[in-house]
């Protein structure tokens, strides 16, 4: 996608507040996004909510790029009712790292982060209830990772809990 730099008074304000923790401010396909370092994401979310009226967290999701050293890309999609503008905040984290939770800033993040943990195995520090959401609690494996096959499942759990010997 054709990426152009994004600049307006909001980006100037963010650059002033966070300086070099914001790695990129761009627009692709007409949608604005910013890339930040993993430690500063929560501070940026809080700043955006309190100062810039981005009070609605639309979604939290992750994308798995297994070839890159920082494997997961966490994406937070925010929307501002007052400005009628949607913004993506992205960050890259390595496997095994524990990013801080966004529950203190937006209450929506509760189940959204549980689902990211369930599907990708990314644990969020400080989350009140870091359990699996969609899959059973004792399930092993994180399905949306790229090394997890599409037909692969936790055969041990199925055999124990459902009594199906083949695991299918």
């Amino acid at each position: 996608m054709v990426v152009t730099p994004w600049q307006n008074d909001l980006t100037v304000e963010l650059k002033e507040a966070f300086g070099d923790q914001i790695l990129e401010l761009s627009t692709g396909l007409g949608q604005d996004y910013l890339v930040a370092g993993p430690e500063s994401v929560i501070a940026i979310l809080e700043h955006l909510k309190l100062e810039d009226e981005y009070d609605y967290l639309v979604d939290i999701t992750a994308v798995d790029w297994p070839d890159k050293p920082e494997r997961f890309e966490l994406v937070y999609i925010l929307y501002s009712f007052a400005r009628n503008h949607r913004l993506r905040v992205k960050t890259r984290i390595a496997e095994g790292s524990h990013p801080p939770t966004a529950v203190g800033v937006h209450l929506t993040a509760d189940w959204l982060e549980r689902e990211v943990f369930d599907m990708f195995g990314i644990e969020f520090d400080g989350h009140p209830n870091m359990k699996r959401l969609l899959l059973p609690e004792e399930w092993q494996g994180h399905p949306l990772r790229k090394d997890h096959g599409i037909l692969q499942m936790d055969n041990r759990w199925v055999q124990e809990n459902m009594g199906i010997d083949s695991g299918q």
Binding site: M1, G28, Q31, V58, F81, L112, L133, L134, P136, P143
Partner: protein
């Protein structure tokens, strides 16, 4: 509201299990009760998890479109619209005007059908059995139009990337006009049955209040947000597929309780009929599908597109790496995020109100679990 504490000896933990007629699917709610009052709830979901996002990474873009209908299966057409709009954004395509108006027509029909089904099941949960029969009878007429158009009533697969596959059949405009004229007196009939009925009012007024700040904090959208007084509809705020050409109103009320959500959805049905009447008057001539290559390979990039589904904001975040299959396909389900607010709405009410609150959130478990 009193907080739930485990030191309370009179606390009862009750399981409103996955097999329950009023939970609108396989939803398990663990209730912590003090007598009849609810102290806290916990939702256990995932009984209908089919791994739609993982399937999306293993199918081509055209092949994935039928899977999308199976998520929110009550309003299947709007799921397809969101997906096609997201892929078209990645490809840089736009559907021709005729296709856009046809999409609006089918999506609004689908919105009326979804709200009718909601009304029937919600009334059934409260105890009014008759509206269920009547709303499903009305819904039959809309499903007949879907069947005449694309061959299936529920999992329609109506839209393709770039437009529509099938031409509108002869008699489509006549049937839609007849439906508009026929369904308005029926909506009046439902209001006659329910709106001033004392049982309905007493069961719903003051139950499950979620004010505007809580809605925004929990990310709740759709009629729940509009009943709290926030006049926000994606069709007006970030229009798609030609909605800016149609004249309709976004209903809001201010009490943010269950009764208000009922009022908002009834008005939304009438506004949908208004859009249908405007759209069916002048459907532009022209091609029904844009020039789309046989093998759809969007350039590498990512896009988030959302639409106003009958349940709330349904969004698709698609990451493409330039191949024929999506690299990551994320669906932002409105029902899951609305369901999160159940705990907030349910504190301090009675057990019978839990059923009313689950009904008013209008969740479809296919979308919650995907």
């Amino acid at each position: 509201m009193p907080e739930a504490t485990f030191l309370d000896a009179s606390e009862l933990v009750l399981n409103m299990g996955p097999q329950h007629p009023s939970t609108h699917g396989v939803l398990r709610v663990i209730l912590k009760l003090d007598g009849e009052k609810v102290m806290g709830t916990e939702c256990v979901i995932g009984y209908l998890h089919r791994g739609v996002e993982k399937i999306g990474e293993n199918r081509t873009y055209q092949m994935f479109a039928p899977y999308v209908d199976r998520m929110d299966y009550i309003a299947a057409v709007s799921n397809g619209l969101g997906y096609c709009l997201a892929v078209e954004k990645l490809m840089g395509l736009e559907a021709p005007p005729r296709a856009q108006v046809a999409r609006v027509l089918l999506t609004e029909l689908n919105r009326i059908a979804s709200h009718l089904f909601w009304l029937g099941t919600h009334a059934l949960d409260i105890g009014a059995i008759t509206p269920l029969f009547y709303t499903l009878r009305e819904r039959e007429e809309i499903l007949k139009i879907f069947e005449n158009y694309c061959g299936a009533r529920l999992t329609t697969h109506a839209f393709r990337i770039g437009g529509l596959q099938y031409e509108l059949y002869d008699g489509f405009e006549r049937e839609v006009k007849a439906l508009c004229d026929w369904v308005i007196p029926k909506i009046d009939e439902y209001e006659e049955l329910l709106t001033s009925n004392r049982i309905w009012v007493q069961r719903l007024k003051g139950v499950g209040i979620l004010n505007a700040d809580d809605c925004k904090a929990y990310g709740v959208t759709g009629p729940v947000l509009r009943a709290a007084g926030v006049k926000w509809d994606i069709r007006k705020a970030l229009p798609y597929s030609g909605y800016e050409k149609f004249d309709f109103e976004v209903p809001i009320t201010h009490n943010a309780d269950t009764y208000d959500r009922y009022v908002v959805r009834m008005v939304e049905m009438r506004q949908s009929v208004r859009i249908l009447r405007q759209a069916v008057e002048n459907i532009p001539a022209g091609p029904i599908i844009a020039k789309v290559p046989k093998v759809i390979k969007p350039p590498a990039g990512e896009a988030y597109v959302s639409i106003e589904s009958p349940k709330g904001e349904l969004g698709y975040y698609i990451v493409s790496d330039g191949s024929t299959q999506p690299y990551r396909l994320r669906v932002r389900p409105p029902s899951l995020i609305n369901l999160q607010a159940l705990d907030r709405m349910a504190r301090g009410c009675l057990v019978a109100d839990i059923v009313a609150i689950i009904g008013t959130l209008d969740i479809v478990l296919g979308e919650v679990d995907r």
